[in-house]
């Protein structure tokens, strides 16, 4: 079966900036693929190369088996693109914009009409369709943007950070919509720097950092590769160092425990890395009880995608975000982006 999107050794530079250094990804038909990475990782650039908006320096990109570089026209027919920033004509109404969009994709009149009605219903835009888009709130704009992107029922829908800056309600509406699309057979490529968004939505995820793919696979697989679960244990609200050390020595001897760290920043709580097995938590509790040590709180958790990112880059996604802020000259970038290429 031909891949929905195939990216091989994609490279794209803007002057001295290596926006994408080496990205290879395969996105299978019918899946939701999440592209995760901190600010400036190269997500948008990758997507612009897929959507025929930018020419790669080198590498190969195919959509539904059609090469993007040589047959952009055919690729565009299969693609829906929802940009990071919603761009609407504020003088037109939602319905008028949808008519325009339908014509750009050459939908015949009656079918366009039918699609527009269906989209209005699906995204609950009845109340808004005949208002000028200049009067819309952020959430309504995003819903109209989704409606526009899906009007021609593309095989592949590409969304660049679709939920950034949205309220929680709209965000979950977007998620629900995307799940519905997948149920209808649409392949979805979505970028985000929200871990939980990718975790809940995507079947597969590619983590990208400084223009390279540093991990790709099913979220569960990626986390499993990191090994066991995390257990956080607090003996008391403020445990003394001595008490914590006693506990650490005891726990380190348990066969299911791989590592124990005392986290001084959190009142000397103990962070354990344990084999993934149901009894781990009980074993820890029993050990404490036998030694006569108290338990103030205990919790077990799976590794998160952030742990995956941490393992690959040695820093957390949040740290990377913070580092990226201030490094970028946004105004210059916008200018550059317009020059395109």
């Amino acid at each position: 079966m031909v891949a929905a999107i195939q990216i091989k050794h994609l490279k794209k530079t803007y002057g001295p900036v290596q926006a994408v250094q080496d990205v290879s990804l395969t996105i299978e038909p019918g899946e939701i693929f999440g592209l995760l990475g901190p600010n400036g990782a190269g997500k948008t650039t990758t997507i612009r190369c897929v959507c025929t908006l930018a020419t790669p320096d080198s590498g190969r990109v195919e959509v539904m088996g059609i090469p993007v570089l040589t047959q952009p026209q055919r690729v565009r027919q299969h693609l829906g693109y929802i940009a990071q920033e919603v761009a609407l004509d504020k003088v037109l109404t939602g319905r008028e914009l949808m008519r325009l969009q339908a014509a750009l994709y050459h939908l015949p009149g009656p079918l366009a009409q039918q699609r527009i009605e269906a989209m209005i219903q699906l995204l609950e835009l009845e109340e808004w369709a005949d208002q000028k888009t200049g009067t819309y709130s952020g959430g309504i704009k995003k819903r109209l943007d989704l409606a526009l992107g899906m009007l021609h029922q593309p095989d592949v829908l590409v969304l660049d950070e679709p939920t950034v800056g949205l309220d929680i309600e709209t965000r979950s509406a977007v998620w629900a919509f995307l799940r519905q699309l997948r149920a209808a057979g649409t392949t979805i490529l979505i970028t985000s720097h929200y871990l939980e968004e990718i975790d809940t939505l995507a079947n597969r995820v590619g983590i990208i950092d400084q223009g390279r793919v540093i991990a790709a696979g099913r979220p569960a697989e990626l986390k499993d590769q990191l090994g066991g679960d995390r257990i956080t244990l607090r003996l008391q609200e403020f445990t003394t160092p001595a008490e914590a050390e006693t506990a650490r020595l005891l726990l380190a001897h348990l066969p299911c425990v791989q590592d124990v760290i005392i986290n001084a920043a959190q009142g000397n709580s103990l962070n354990l890395l344990v084999d993934r097995q149901a009894e781990a938590l009980t074993l820890v509790q029993q050990t404490m009880a036998t030694a006569g040590l108290p338990i103030f709180g205990i919790s077990q958790s799976r590794p998160s995608l952030d742990d995956v990112y941490l393992a690959a880059t040695g820093r957390t996604l949040i740290d990377a975000e913070l580092a990226a802020v201030g490094q970028r000259d946004l105004k210059r970038e916008k200018k550059q982006a317009m020059k395109g290429g």
């Binding site: 930018a54 339908a102 079918l111 609950e124 000028k132 021609h152």
Partner: protein
């Protein structure tokens, strides 16, 4: 304003509505037929044009200003040169009659030159991306849509100028003459619109575009025969004016104003180097138009956002 949000989104009937049989069979037919064809081109062009008209309808001030401005020109310039002795302006009876053709062409030119601005704002705003990621039959639809829109405006403006000139005693060309005037205005608008959009795709932003428009607009007016006849100018300016495309739009219009018996072979312009017939003006304008369209093709092809 509160926006209650979708539970309906979670129902699975939505999926079925999304992927209806109708849309599926349309997509299959797309794969089978040779696309794109000229009907696709017209569909996208008309939709883009319609958008421009809706904008105009909801923001009519541009229309009002666009019609009033050339009329002010006509009155002011007319008054300015009112006392110039008859005979200085060729065969024209008075300056008003002479000026009409110049104002018609200059107004159409100015409108077309500015055609790129709204597209530039679309580009800066990201709206143009909708056009660029869509499977347009040709990106010339963006050019043609702008040209159709500007041409309609120019027709209105031309009608207003013709009427006011007539009221001021300049008379009117005969019917075929009027048709010729319209044809000339159309050709000029299409060519200049193409150039303006070419600039829009080539320049980095609206500041630069405005700068270029600014330094092109008035110099082209003053170096054409819009305001004074060729033999009124110093020699060097005569040379410039006889290569200014505006001159080739102005002179035929001026001629048909004065000569109801015009024909293609009528001599409408005598430059220091050559004499130009009405037919030759037509050829020059056609070449200008086709040349502009051809010139911008590589700019339309490129990938950009």
């Amino acid at each position: 304003m509160s926006t209650t949000l979708p539970t309906p989104l979670s129902n699975s009937a939505g999926a079925a509505a999304l992927n209806s049989a109708a849309i599926q069979s349309w997509k299959e037919s797309l794969a089978k037929t040779a696309r794109p064809d000229w009907r696709d081109f017209w569909q996208e062009t008309l939709a883009m044009t319609q958008r421009l008209f809706i904008q105009l309808q909801r923001r009519p001030s541009t229309l009002v200003a666009g019609v009033v401005q050339p009329l002010i020109w006509l009155v002011l310039f007319g008054a300015l040169f009112q006392n110039v002795p008859a005979g200085l302006f060729g065969e024209s009876r008075n300056y008003g009659q002479f000026l009409g053709a110049g104002i018609i062409v200059f107004t159409a030119f100015g409108g077309a030159l500015n055609a790129g601005l709204p597209v530039m704002f679309d580009r800066e705003f990201g709206f143009l991306n909708r056009f660029l990621v869509a499977p347009l039959a040709s990106r010339y639809s963006i050019v043609v849509a702008s040209a159709l829109f500007i041409a309609s405006l120019s027709l209105l403006q031309t009608a207003a100028i013709l009427s006011l000139s007539a009221l001021l005693g300049a008379g009117l060309p005969n019917f075929l003459g009027l048709v010729l005037v319209l044809a000339i205005v159309m050709a000029l608008v299409l060519g200049v619109t193409a150039l303006s959009l070419g600039l829009t795709f080539a320049l980095p932003g609206h500041i630069e575009l405005i700068a270029v428009i600014f330094v092109t607009n008035l110099p082209l007016l003053f170096s054409s025969t819009a305001l004074v006849p060729l033999d009124f100018m110093p020699h060097w300016l005569q040379i410039v004016a006889s290569f200014n495309p505006l001159t080739y739009a102005i002179e035929p219009i001026r001629y048909v104003y004065l000569h109801p018996d015009w024909s293609w072979s009528s001599l409408v312009l005598q430059t220091p180097f050559f004499n130009v017939s009405l037919a030759a003006c037509g050829v020059v304008l056609t070449i200008f138009c086709a040349g502009s369209l051809a010139l911008i093709q590589p700019l339309l092809r490129q990938r950009m956002a």
